[in-house]
Amino acid sequence: MRGIYTPVTAIRRQVFARIAKLAYEGGDFARLVEDIPFKIVPGETARYRDSVFKERAIIGERLRLACGLDVRPASVHAPISDGIDMSAVSEKFYQPPLVNVISFACNACEEKKYTVTDGCQGCLASPCINICPVKAVRMEHGHSIIDEEKCIKCGRCVDACPYNAIIKVERPCSQACGVDAIESDSLGRAKINYDKCVSCGQCLVHCPFGAIADKSQIFQLIHAIKDGKEIIAEIAPAFVGQFGPTATPDRVKDAIKQLGIAEVYEVAIGADIGAVEEAHHYVHEVVSGKQPFLATSCCPSWSVMAKNMFPTIAPYVSQALTPMVATARIIKEKHPDAMVVFIGPCSSKKLEASRTSVRSDVDFVITFEELMGMFVAKQIDFSQVPSDVLEDATGAGRGYAVAGGVANAIAGSIAELYPDVEFKIDRAEGLSNCRKMLALAKAGKRDGYLMEGMACPGGCIGGSGTIMPIARAAALVKEFQQKADAQNAVQSDYISK
């Protein structure tokens, strides 16, 4: 559902704005949070589901997740506010799992089936019957019928029908999941297999019933701001254009400061550092023949998937610090007492920041959608926000936001540092495509390659916590890249330092 603003999107964003407002204004959280579902779903009649009570109950669980609390099944009787006072703290409040199914919001869509539509003409040729390897298709009263018990879901009938009358119906969440992590509970509702899930968040943006949501840290971040802690933000390169045409990159920096955050750095600083490090690594390890290929490491969902599903080639995933961590370490060096909030496009960074090795570097992670909720809660008027120049990074680092940008940045560094070295690049976006690329690598067909993997189609600008349509965001990122003083990562001030 990317690129189409739907009631699901509206509800998700209203929840963030309401929770941000609640945190900023303070008061009796236990009482105030119970009122929010009535503000988001006013009146006495249901708008999207069979009952207004159910609509509000689902909002209630989304509010809990936005506060970092656990989601509950319908069988548990408890107020929305149960535990909210414990979550009203000025430090990270997070217990796994990150991505959650609100089970009673799930439509229990059929997992996968092939069905014959009214477009069937009952033609004489009946290629659907002839091509089926298990005799699952028959003709009845001039209409093809698929016997679901026999069907092995090979899809050959779909390709054979000259009227395109046979369709594949699949759960949108499963379809969006590139690691087959969506299973079913006893009632046929979606259930996430957390051994497989890499928290890319694509299921939550593709569920048409809004039944999947991730936990947020905005409630705790705002408490930290209100407690007077020094908070430094690092903002991922995909932020450009996310907050509308009035919110230019320079204004976004100042707008973030108006939220109570002391300073803002571009994560593209860390991207520049990573690009140069991976360029050296590629030349010293891959070109020299010590290892067969190098896979980039900046997208945590991609790198975790590679390690989980292809353990034998896991050592060839770059060990370079991700841009988030590299930038956070620079910030902590300059501001040793500060807390760092990473503002980015996706859920998976929340998981990355919870790793033991990263926990001390990054204190909070929020998405662009969640930041937007904070802007709305604080009534930030971008047209009145002064510009505060962002000039931390090179064009190459800023390009990490868009699919292909990571490989381009590394390639640029290799060309600059090792002009005589020839390199080969492959890249994939979307986890299912990434899997195919890694399968080729495992089979020895990507030897000598630098491989870029991006879990989200389009790259980071297609992340689950983004706001802008992908094409629009890509154009604006490119424009911002061109404005950088330097274009090659090796020219970064932070490299020479």
Partner: protein, 92 residues
């Protein structure tokens, strides 16, 4: 050729509530001009604010010609555009 101005508010509330998707929807309508035979030129502009300031409960706000649409969405805006240009429309 007649001109129809469509102004889309891009304040924080309106962006959060999907105003940029409305812009995309109008742009897509312009591409369909030949199919629906609209002769009016549609000019879409984004504005820092349309209507009253701090319109949290009314966003997104879009003005189509002289009409202000509150709680706008792609459907209501495109429908208003089609209504205002209906005299020019000759469906094939």
């Amino acid at each position: 050729m007649k001109v129809l101005h469509v102004d889309v508010c891009t304040c924080a509330e309106c962006v959060m509530n999907g105003c940029m998707d409305i812009v995309d929807a109008i742009e897509s309508l312009k591409k369909l001009k030949s199919d629906v035979k609209i002769k009016t030129q549609i000019i879409v502009s984004t504005k820092p604010c349309v209507g009253d300031a701090l319109h949290y409960d009314k966003s997104p706000i879009v003005s189509v010609g002289k009409k202000i649409i509150e709680h706008a969405n792609a459907q209501t805006v495109m429908s208003q555009i089609m209504e205002l240009t209906s005299k020019d429309v000759k469906r094939s």
